[in-house]
Amino acid sequence: MDKEVMNLEIIESARPVYAVLVSLLAVVLIGSSGKYPNLRELWTMLAALLKFGLVVSMLPTILAGKAIEYHVITVLPGLDIAFRVDSLGMVLALTASFLWIITSIYAIGYMRSMDEHAQTRFFMCFAIALSAAMGAAFSANVFTLFVFYEMITVSTFALVAHEETPEAISGARRYLAYLLGTSIFFFLPAMFLTYNYAGTLDFASQGILAGKASYTIISIIFVLYIAGIAKAGMMPFHSWLPAAMVAPTPVSALLHAVAVVKVGVFTIIRILLFVFGVDLLTEIGLGIYLAYFASFTILAASIMALKQDNLKLRLAYSTVSQLSYIVLAVALLTPSGITSSIMHITIHAFGKITLFFVAGAIYVRTHKKKVSELNGIGRQMPFTMAAFTVGAFSMIAVPPFGGFISKWYLVMGTFEAHLLPILVVIVASTLLNAAYFLPIIYAAFFKQPESGEVHGIEEAPALMVVPILITATGVLILFFASPLLLNLVKIAVASALGGGY
Amino acid sequence: MIELLAKYNYWIVIILLTTGLYGVMARKNLIKKIIGLNVFQTAVLLFYVSMSKIEGGTAPILLNHGHGPQPVFDNPLPQVLMLTAIVVGISTTAVALTFVTRIYREYGTIEEDQILELNKQND
């Protein structure tokens, strides 16, 4: 399908390139001012603000129904590095770049409180990862997307291994083996086959594979893609995510709740909608299989989350399960399903980052990692735990928190797709969500601390608490101001469905 | 039979070549291998030189400074090529024997089996 069909006005602009480059430039500056921590952090903050500003500056154009394109270089005929900003990419870019600002503040507080080593390397890799996330969001074709996808893996690898303890290193090993391994052995061949059959790798609104290959071949490509995008955390390639929890909490928060995993599901959405196309997938019926597959991950991961005593691990399994919501939603291939899927990228990001921030704050203040140790912590850290409650409720999808919106659309999607078994899955998993979050909240506020230690209010440093409150507020705003986000998402859905929505 | 005789030198070349090749591969003494290599190479030289000969031809040296009628000459080009090949051959042999000397100095033997044995002990 041609771009003309999308009825989008195309604007040539290098702004997406700047949005990617700004943090790469910051990498150089951060690296060269390693001896002056304040200057170094200034660069991070400046880059984060500038990046967000650049992304926002493109928002009006996108909301006006236009797209921004920029061609950087042709590596080989048919393999280009090119950018194309559309509403779907915009959702991810806005979320990631905004949360980078917040996380940067938090990270400064966290790293300094913990007196971490190699902070310069930490902030450098962080900036690279963000660049790559922007690049992925704005990719105009599978190849560019793949390149940035790999770039994220490699740059975050160093962050996961940050502590350099044997545990961190073995976690990092598994991280790399899963992410790099699957992408090379499945994603890359899938891309190769796509190129071979479709003759192009450019995303197009109704996909590029329709009519180009037999159903068998398309199914094979489909399976390769799904297996290759391990960042989406689908079972059986999910275990890198819990393993990555050895990283410092800001990493877990931004990367393993937002940038890395969201790029994973974003890639799946991109590929499903713009490489295969809704019609083709519906025709072959591949969406349903994926939906059931994702359902399994949702339930299994929720059950595993129940068993975790380590707070970050519990959050990690929760993430695995929530990511599959996004995959499930898009796999329904209905307007509401896709809406839910895209919205959940942002909504889950805010919720989950809040939860991770809280986990980090607790660790900084009390050095406690386990759920079973959190009795009465709500009295010691009331603001923090209030924010935790907000995040948890959003996960469970209780109104008036953001999570309700996306789950609402998901439920509508299942009706549209006439898949009632999926509805059962959603209900069951909501109950499971409640089962692993509510006890924490209950214990934090209503149980007595062990061994009768009594604390006054002892919050984490302000540099950490403020970001927590901001993101928690964000969760609320996303509920009340959901139409704003919805406007953007609708454009994406429209382009995916060929304007029929 | 005529066919066989007309290609007599080819058969000789083949026999020498294969003999040399077998020697190179099968003999374990480093010097013996080089001798085999020489036999192998000279077989190819013989092949070339054999093709330079023409029935009734004479050595390619012009009469009367190239003026007037000339006899049938043998083909000089293969001979030239083989001059080069011989020189290359002796150079190779010299370098090979240098290696053998050094190997003997380092290992105290020029039997391939023993050298392999020694290498194994080292590793």
């Binding site: 090379i184 | 380092e106 080292n122």
Partner: protein
């Protein structure tokens, strides 16, 4: 003088090589200067040749002024110019690199000028093989490069180097003699030695058994030089025990030139039409050998504990890729092969350079000993990492480009079964490099295990003690080129495409 470039390309290094031992008597460093400058000049000439070819097409230079086929012709088209650039550039990088490297690998001062002489003779031979248009001249130049190569390998510090050099000499001479024998058959049937003339006169004899025999011997002879599986036995020990700079330059240039000659013979002396006349399907034999080489090379590389030997076995596998592209007999495949000539030269060059730097600092090259080197030699190890990633075929590195083309070509030829094999070998490559990278970056240096892990050990960071700049710069440059040509692949690809089109016209 532009007219004489093809001659100057060979004559300058030849004469400088001959003078080198004389000027080296004053001080050995002078010979280093001579060789470095000369290889650079050769590199410049190669670039000029490419430029000239792009302006006026194929260049033909008549040695001694005799018109071909009477005299020896030197001819340059896109293919020659492309290979020349690879060879001369890697020789130049190797020359810079060698200055410090041979301090530890060839300690003896009096040997150094001769090392440079022979190094330059080696390069001369290779350049000559690429640029000559006369098949017998190829044989003579092949022997120069080979003899020089044997001597260079024998310089290795361990005594196994001598045995390796000896075995290589024996196999190499058998190979060269096979080549000579094949040329004899060709000459006997056609009466000419000029490649262009042969190409004209051969087709009428395609049906004959003699020509098939000629082809068989030439190809087998070259396969020995190229170390195509199963004729690769000489290679692992030779690369493994030679001085590092020699391994690097040989892996980066020697095998490439052998591959070039194979391509020339198969597609310029013979033509694709010949392969329909052969008694059995040569293409399948090549493909099977290529696949076997790719797999066996990768698997054997996995089994090695010595990093140089591991790289050597990896070369066996990579040569398989080159052969694979040649054997596919379509333009895309040929492009894949030609691009891989450049790419493998860069990758393997960088890897061997990096290993040489490690040997320079630590004196050891077992994989075990690489532990914790990431901190001690960050630049060297960064270069190694880039090249290693490239070997596995990550996008934006050169390794990706060649594998991509080979995969596309396999599908084009209807040989889809080759794609999983390429993929499988990528997996194996990733595994055997992972072992090293894991040691380099993630494991503590030997002797530091006793320290407490985590924060304490970071208070006193390991002092970085990288190799000298004259080694790090070439290493890193070559590694960065792996990235540059991975991103700006268009330049080599367009040359390779033109060359491939000429070959398969």
């Amino acid at each position: 003088m532009i007219k004489h470039l093809p001659a100057l390309l060979i004559v300058i290094p030849l004469l400088v090589a001959i003078i080198t031992p004389i000027i080296g008597r004053l001080h050995w460093v002078l010979s280093w200067y001579a060789v470095t400058i000369t290889t650079f000049i050769s590199f410049v000439i190669s670039l000029l040749l490419l430029q000239t070819v792009s302006v006026q097409g194929r260049i033909s230079y008549w040695m001694s002024g005799w018109e071909p086929p009477f005299g020896i012709e030197y001819s340059v088209d896109y293919l020659n110019a492309y290979v020349l650039i690879i060879v001369s550039f890697m020789a130049f990088a190797g020359a810079i690199y060698s200055r410090k490297n041979i301090d530890v690998e060839i300690e003896d001062e009096t040997r150094k000028p001769l090392f440079y002489t022979i190094y330059l003779l080696f390069v001369t031979g290779l350049l000559g093989m690429v640029v000559t248009g006369d098949i017998f001249n190829i044989y003579v130049l092949l022997e120069i490069a080979s003899l020089a190569g044997y001597a260079l390998i024998a310089l290795g510090k361990k005594r196994q180097a001598l045995v390796a050099a000896y075995n290589y000499l024996v196999m190499g001479t058998v190979g060269a003699t096979f080549f000579l024998l094949g040329v004899g058959y060709l000459y006997l049937m056609t009466g000419t030695l000029n490649i262009a003339d042969l190409a004209v006169r051969l087709p009428e004899f395609y049906e004959t058994k003699a020509i098939f025999t000629a082809f068989a011997f030439i190809v087998v002879g070259l396969s020995i030089k190229l170390a195509i599986f199963p004729l690769h036995f000489w290679l692992p020990n030779s690369y493994g025990y030679a001085p590092s700079v020699v391994s690097a330059v040989m892996a980066a240039t020697g095998a490439k030139v052998a591959a070039y000659v194979l391509i020339r013979v198969m597609y310029s002396v013979f033509t694709p039409a010949f392969f329909t006349h052969t008694p059995f399907n040569i293409q399948y034999i090549f493909l099977l050998l290529a696949v076997a080489a790719i797999l066996v090379g990768s698997i054997m590389a996995l089994a090695q504990t010595d990093i140089k030997k591991m790289l050597a076995y990896s070369s066996v596998g990579q040569i398989g890729y080159i052969v694979l592209g040649i054997a596919l007999m379509n333009v895309t495949g040929m492009m894949g092969s030609l691009i891989h000539l450049l790419n493998h030269a860069l990758m393997k060059g960088a890897l061997f350079f990096a290993v040489g730097a490690v040997v320079y600092r630590t004196g050891l090259c077992s994989i075990e000993n690489l532990r914790g080197l990431g901190k001690k030699m960050p630049w060297t190890m960064a270069a190694f990492t880039i090249a290693a990633l490239s070997m596995t075929g990550i996008p934006l590195t050169v390794g990706f480009i060649s594998k991509w083309y080979l995969a596309v070509a396999s599908i084009e030829s209807g040989m889809w079964w080759l794609v999983p094999i390429i993929l499988l070998s990528s997996i194996l490559t990733a595994v055997y490099f992972w072992r090293i990278l894991d040691n380099v970056w993630l494991k503590p240096a030997p002797g530091e295990e006793s320290h407490e892990h985590g924060h304490d050990s970071h208070q006193k960071p390991v002092k970085s003690n990288d190799a000298p700049l004259s080694m790090v710069i070439p290493t890193f440059t070559v590694a960065v080129l792996c990235l540059v040509f991975g991103l700006f692949a268009y330049a080599p690809v367009s040359i390779a495409e033109k060359a491939a089109l000429i070959l398969l016209k």
